[in-house]
Symmetry: C3
């Protein structure tokens, strides 16, 4: 998540009640999770297991709960609860602004774009040129929609991530991770009816140019979909996953989180993708395998009774030898 403008480190420290270890002179450009950080960013870490990874990441400022060695050009922000500090920062720079009107005054639509009745356009949303927003679509705050995009009725763009921190004291309970990111829909994208595309938690959820999405498709937070992909109806993709260009996912395919589907891969209907798969091939099954291998397996399954009869011949039951 980018801040609207660069923020002095001292302002951040004051907001979250942190002690600055190292230089107090810097200014932060945004806050992100470890896999998305850039130079100038804040990052947060609360488990010693990840200290080193965070301190050595591209991030310049580390919100941390213990003083640890760090490079001279970085600073630590020492707090008791880094996760709570993250939440405070997101809540402060992306404050909850309940929509008051169907189309926010701060939303912007380009020339030749139609927004049909019942559609709701959130604060600071930007929509390009020659785009059609069908009835009862919802586009929440800060999302970016390109040129020549079609979004069919009832689709929701920019819902909050399904992302919770599990706390177990006496019983399990879940604490929501605030979503500071956006959804970015590039040019020439078409999205069907009643889909849901969650905003990024710290980065952006991206739908690449020319990609076509059918109805009732779910796309999780921070997932990045490449150019000219096809996603058939009822596909579901979890969070922080990468779908490269020209991938085809047929109906009801499920894709797990934080994995990559390589360029040009094609996944047959109802398959489940639990881990990274390489591009240029066809896949089938839940969990997916190479489509041809899977089809052969289904044929082999039918041969078990034949094997059984050979290995345990019926006569052997009462056989007298």
């Amino acid at each position: 998540m980018r801040f609207p403008t660069i923020v002095p480190l001292t302002e951040i420290a004051s907001l979250i009640g942190a002690q600055i270890i190292g230089s107090k002179q810097g200014a932060a450009s945004g806050i992100n999770e470890i896999h998305k950080v850039e130079e100038g960013d804040l990052v947060f870490v609360d488990h010693p297991k990840y200290y080193l990874k965070c301190i050595n990441s591209a991030a310049t400022y580390i919100i941390i709960n213990q003083v640890t060695d760090f490079p001279a050009h970085k600073s630590l922000l020492l707090v008791d609860e880094p996760f709570e500090a993250y939440q405070k920062i997101v809540a402060h720079y992306r404050p909850f602004m309940p929509l008051q009107k169907t189309i926010s005054d701060s939303a912007n639509t380009g020339e030749g774009t139609f927004v049909m009745p019942g559609a709701v356009i959130g604060n600071h949303v930007q929509i390009g040129k020659d785009t059609i927003i069908y009835p009862n679509v919802v586009i929440m705050d800060h999302c970016i929609i390109g040129n020549n995009v079609i979004i069919q009725s009832g689709t929701v763009i920019g819902s909050d991530a399904f992302y919770y921190n599990k706390k177990t004291t006496r019983e399990v309970h879940y604490k929501k991770m605030l979503s500071g990111g956006r959804v970015v829909v590039e040019d020439d994208v078409e999205i069907g009816a009643n889909c849901t595309i969650d905003r990024g938690v710290s980065g952006d959820t991206v739908i690449g140019a020319g990609t076509k999405i059918d109805n009732l498709v779910h796309i999780g937070h921070d997932t990045v979909i490449g150019k000219n992909c096809l996603l058939a109806a009822q596909v579901g993709i979890a969070g922080a996953t990468t779908i490269e260009d020209e991938v085809i996912l047929w109906g009801q395919v499920g894709v797990s989180k934080t994995l990559t589907i390589g360029k040009g891969a094609e996944v047959y209907a109802q398959s489940g993708v639990p881990a990274t798969i390489e591009g240029g091939r066809k896949y089938f099954g839940s969990p997916v395998e190479d489509a041809m291998t899977k089809k052969k397996e289904l044929v082999w399954m039918k041969r078990i009774p034949v094997l059984w009869e050979k290995v345990f011949p019926p006569s052997s039951k009462g056989g007298t030898g």
Copy 2:
């Protein structure tokens, strides 16, 4: 389904054209199906196979199509078509009231609660404090939403049950069972975008406190979900099922009707649950099995060709011995 106030038995009998067998003095507090009845309730039964079960249930008043022995403190309401009588009662005490306005005058929202543009709030709906209802959410009549609840855009709470009586004369046709129940969403629940939660037919559909639900999830009528559960995107749960506390269902899991998933069970993505499973374990597959057992099965499947080659060695085809 509870009646707004207690109703004299004679009023019910007159409404459905029933003859009262036994005491005419009582008053009914509600009407329910056999698995939900309480003392003071009406219940209905039209098949001799279920007469005994209904007469011996907690219900005090039995709508029935044949005189049958019954305990002295109960009464029978004798009609030709008990199912039709049930429909009449529900239609009378929960009459269809087409919404006239986006937010019904009889709906109630607590302090600190936001209802965003395009949301529709039905008659007699009660919403607690500090709750956020996102754009284009629909909450139908009589539903109850707790405190500190978040319901994201496009979700529908309180749609009618998918529950039909099959009639076969010359051809099959289906007669809708009227939904007199409600949806009750407890405190600290969060529900994603474009979900659907059906109201109970005779009882309530309940989402327990602290439970978090992702996008495009379907929950059937009269289903009761425990506390602090996680339901990932595109999960579907049929009617009258019980999900105990702290259950986790991953993406696209399907759960059949009238079963129980025990406390703390975790069901992996795309699995199908056709019958009751016990708590505290992990499950996978369609139909589900113990996750470890299922994974081993998938490994065994790959060994069939090896078995085949041993049992039917290639040389044996043209073998001369």
Copy 3:
């Protein structure tokens, strides 16, 4: 797709810049794809492989990119790009009319029909008598809804087809096929919440009388569903498929395109139907098989370890034989 009135062939030729080969006297009643054409229709073909099939179809007028032999009572319309010509014709006779109001002035609703708040009714939509349209439903242009129909909240009727022509130059890209067809929902149909039913591309998508559809169901373009079918929650049916009368599809079933499911077939939950299946039987699995066969297969799978132990006995490893 039917034209509003019959159109002289010369008008069509002029619209698409075609040279007429054969009689110039005719008039066209509509334009359709090859599997839907009737006498008096236009059809288009751009690949020599399909020339003969199109010229010999019921269509009277063939938009084609090469002069080919044809029967005396037909005419050819010669153009360079038949697909582009098709798009021009659809765009001309079914022009994009962005909705200006929640309920179009050209929409029509019968006596006793309720349209609840937030519902959007498109241009030229016709709704019969005693029908209930719940909040935030969207019914797009030209769709037809019968009598005594119930459509629950958030459902979208008449979204555009997910139907693209693939063009590969340097990279893949997809060109949308315009949808000129309608959705026709017959009498006594009930449709759940947040469903999506796409309009036909050239013909109509039809939901037969008495059919009941649960929540979050997707039905593709030009698919025809028979009478008194049951479709449970989260079922997905691709385009141009035929579901005959009294078919039952349980939860999360997926059905591929351009196939037929025979009368009275029942498909168990989470199954996948990749090709035509005959009526009157029960099916299970992905891909589906006869339900009993599939269940036996699942039992056989569990016997592989027993086979293995017999064929490769543990003692044989270190056996001295």
